[in-house]
Symmetry: C2
Subunit: 170 residues, 2 copies
Amino acid sequence: MVKGLMFVLLVLVAASSSFGKPENNSSAKKENKFPQTLSRGWGDELNWTQTYEEALFRAKSSNKPLMVIHHLEDCPHSQAMKQIFANNKEIQKMAGEDFILLNLVFETSDKHLAPDGQYVPRFIFVDPSLTVRADITGRYGNRLYAYEPADLDLLLSNMKKAKKLLKTEF
Amino acid sequence: MVKGLMFVLLVLVAASSSFGKPENNSSAKKENKFPQTLSRGWGDELNWTQTYEEALFRAKSSNKPLMVIHHLEDCPHSQAMKQIFANNKEIQKMAGEDFILLNLVFETSDKHLAPDGQYVPRFIFVDPSLTVRADITGRYGNRLYAYEPADLDLLLSNMKKAKKLLKTEF
């Protein structure tokens, strides 16, 4: 009857180490807003995928790069990046036109999405050939995929870099 | 630089076989509604998890069973079950109080979630001990985890069955 134990969950705990010095304001944010959205405030007009499986499928089938944003609601650095990201017209336009989008508050079990560890906020690009673009990094040596609001231009330039696909098909 | 090829995507294609005889009305539903919600109409007041990883973590940590609903927007049988599910007070109350909830339009790579194949709609329960309750089935021998609107009472009774945990902790 019972189907047996499922795979062991290795990397289930949400990344608790955030970039810099997080303030603990979780108690002030306990009220849930319904219905919850897939955008989580990163751009309500954009088309967000739900899961990594869906995102990879859509990246491959549309031949567009995937941008994965790991963040946490209780991390002020994530929140600051979200504000910048959601309110910047150039980012929103490029994200909407040229990228498959996924934002996650839980880590996946795929270690390729955490080339130098699990922390937030973390921006990882994946080529439509399904190769993680570990070469596209921010400016912090100890957290290669972290960005601060002041790094907006670098994020924009990295998005442009991700648009140059590794393998041009056809 | 480039981090190497990611894992091969075996089960990425969304289940195209739906329960019974699907009507193809995808073209009529092309307009996207923004912002997209995690509930997708299965209960806007309920707390839906985003990914299977998150759902498993929350089931384990809260010691509540997980209900996974596989469905498709273009499947009339999924839509009919959604209407029943979203409008039945007893189901909504029990779902909200006693279950961790996840609805998926993309299959995961975990074959335990498809004990007899990938089809929609499909209701699978997972015990907080992370065991898929393959013993909790509907009434169709060829699609053990499918339910029609007429099977509402059976679904309710199966939800009650899932609430009796396999291993009582403490």
